[in-house]
């Protein structure tokens, strides 16, 4: 499997006496959308924060394109090509779309002794990239606060893709959105996947997962309950797994022997 971008092997994470993750294995391939499902407290957030460099795993291996990696900070992970879009921390509402899009990586040009932001380039690129994601901005100067929740997520996704993300982690991008905005974001996920980026889609909404997912992994109480391919599992089964009410033995069958 040469196209595996990130492989997480047997990850554990302890916070003092609390075992947040107890042996989680997970991988994501180029061009797929791998959904990570789990109820609240299942360890989804801890897991993706480990993947994106916020936490260091207590034990276990992270392989990025076959290489062992140890990320010291989110910046390290980002530079390697793992970008994370957090649900409510994606954007700064008072700042313009362009300023948000380029934040931290503003393009510059030289004017005399000064280096100033190249706003022509920045604005043009922002408009183009947003148009590719299916959103036509009124103006690149408009404040992000005037965008809908779904559009904000899309700006964050477009930003990550533009800056060369190979793996895109989306932390519950649809949980606070309405029906139509959710559809927009899911369509964006689909576009991103088709461009060859590996998407890790975290959600606790089975219907959203089924809409775009190629594979589904269920986390419960800090452990993976198994991974299923699209078409080998029904929404009901996923729902039951997330609820964690069934015994492992009973689950194996429904997961097609991949547990």
């Amino acid at each position: 499997m040469s196209d595996v971008l990130v492989h997480m092997e047997n990850i554990t994470k302890h916070f003092g006496p609390v075992i947040a993750l107890n042996g989680v294995s997970f991988d994501v391939k180029a061009g797929e959308c791998h959904c990570l499902l789990g109820d609240n407290g299942a360890g989804k957030s801890t897991f993706i924060k480990t993947m994106s460099g916020v936490h260091k795993p207590t034990s276990g291996e992270i392989l990025f394109e076959g290489q062992r990696m140890s990320f010291g900070s989110p910046r390290d992970a980002m530079e390697a090509g793992i970008a994370t879009v957090y649900q409510d921390l994606a954007m700064i509402p008072l700042m313009s779309v362009t300023r948000n899009f380029w934040m931290g990586r503003e393009p510059r040009r030289r004017v005399g002794p000064l280096k100033v932001i190249d706003f022509d380039l920045a604005n043009r690129t922002t408009m183009d990239e947003m148009a590719r994601m299916g959103i036509n901005l009124r103006s690149p100067d408009q404040a992000v606060g005037t965008l809908s929740g779904g559009e904000r997520q899309t700006v964050a996704i477009a930003r990550a893709v533009y800056f060369g993300a190979k793996v895109l982690i989306l932390d519950e991008p649809t949980s606070a959105l309405g029906v139509r905005q959710t559809a927009n974001v899911l369509a964006t996920v689909d576009r991103v996947r088709k461009s060859g980026i590996g998407v890790v889609f975290i959600t606790h909404n089975v219907r959203h997962a089924m809409a775009v997912g190629d594979r589904f992994t269920v986390l419960n109480r800090g452990q993976t309950l198994g991974t299923a391919d699209r078409g080998h599992i029904t929404a009901e089964d996923l729902q039951d797994l997330m609820a964690g009410g069934q015994e492992m033995a009973a689950l194996e069958g429904s997961l097609g022997g991949t547990v």
Partner: protein
């Protein structure tokens, strides 16, 4: 899911030009500036407020406010306050006097040491704020008292007085002191007097000389700092990081903006502005006093708020703050020219502050679409 691929979204209302203007942070400042000039043009138009000397008078007062407002504005955009600005002004003045006059160092050395100490204190302010996560309001309030205490204690202990004179004599011929005290373009005013546009002294030792000897360095510093602050804030990468740090520090950190460094540098910038203010003041007066700069921190904050900055950070304009400072200076001196009881100035300040904050809150709702 192809429905979202439409070219335009019919639900987005066209925004009018007026609304677009409303969300500019400078709007309040522009409207206020026009209003005060019209007001005093009517009330004090023939009092000498708008002749050469009058203009010099209120523009110098405004320039003083501008210098500290630049730093306060950028710091507020970065999401923090500095209440120690006023004490820093007094402290820096006494520091220059102690090193340059009492301890006899060359004046340029005294100035450079003072800048280093004050910006160091600014850095400590910033470090404490970012390390402890305490509100900058409290941390800098502590330094308001600490600095003022030292400002009185040091000259009192060493010299047994809290006003130190003799600075002009000690600064004679000093190149760095000249940067804060020379009047520029004197020839222009001689010429203006020759063609009768400005008055000359009719009596005394300077009879025949124009009433204005040149453009004070105070004005040059103020204009230069406003332009520099405006360019940095709106045009540079660092400026974008200042907005980001104040807008949402956590979101900024996630995309790699060094938020802590930005905030510390902004605290050092306000300290720099306070020190510039102090230098201009001591070389103009020729003396330093331990009670200088009292309440300046609040005046700076008021100018910034009139200029459209949000107290919560992430939004504001140096140009707006400069206009806020101009309003300040014009009103303070205008009431004097109009022969109005000057205590009313404080009433005006309180009212305009209240009005500006309410207006800013409304504008914020427009920008972010909150209801």
């Amino acid at each position: 899911m192809s429905v979202i691929d439409g070219a335009t979204d019919e639900r987005i209302k066209k925004t009018g030009g007026l609304r677009r203007w409303l969300i500019r942070p400078e709007l309040g400042g522009i409207v206020g500036t026009i209003a005060v000039f019209v007001f005093f043009g009517i009330l004090a138009g023939d009092s000498g407020m708008f002749n050469a000397q009058g203009i010099l008078n209120w523009s110098q007062i405004s320039a003083q406010f501008m210098i500290i407002a630049v730093g306060a504005c950028m710091l507020m955009v970065a999401g923090e306050f500095d209440l120690s600005v006023g004490s820093m002004i007094g402290f820096a003045g006494i520091s220059i006097a102690m090193f340059g006059v009492v301890w006899g160092l060359p004046m340029w050395v005294a100035i450079l040491i003072t800048f280093a100490i004050c910006m160091g204190v600014g850095a400590i302010n910033g470090l404490i704020v970012v390390r402890t996560g305490l509100p900058s309001f409290i941390v800098t309030l502590a330094f308001l008292f600490i600095l003022r205490g030292f400002t009185i204690f040091i000259p009192q202990t060493v010299e047994n007085r809290t006003i130190i004179g003799g600075i002009a004599e000690a600064a004679q011929g000093d190149w760095l002191a000249a940067v804060f005290s020379t009047d520029l373009a004197g020839w222009l005013f001689v010429w203006l007097a020759d063609i009768g546009l400005i008055d000359t002294f009719s009596r005394g030792s300077r009879a025949g000389e124009p009433v204005i000897s040149g453009i004070p360095m105070l004005l040059v510093w103020a204009v230069a700092m406003v332009i520099a602050g405006h360019v940095v804030l709106t045009r540079t990468r660092f400026g974008n990081w200042i907005f980001a740090a104040g807008g949402d520090a956590q979101a900024a950190r996630y995309v790699g903006v060094p938020v802590d460094r930005v905030k510390i540098i902004m605290f050092m910038t306000t300290a720099f502005c306070a020190t510039v203010f102090a230098c201009l003041q001591v070389f103009e007066f020729g003396s330093a006093a331990a009670d200088r700069g009292v309440l300046k921190e609040f005046e700076a904050i008021i100018a910034v708020v009139i200029g459209g900055a949000l107290l919560t950070g992430g939004y504001g304009s140096v140009m707006g703050a400069a206009l806020g400072a101009l309003i300040f200076g014009v009103v303070q001196q205008g009431l004097f020219f109009a022969d109005v009881e000057s205590s009313l100035f404080r009433v005006f300040l309180g009212l305009i502050l209240l009005f500006a904050v309410i207006l800013n809150t409304y504008i914020r709702r427009i920008i972010t679409g909150e209801r």
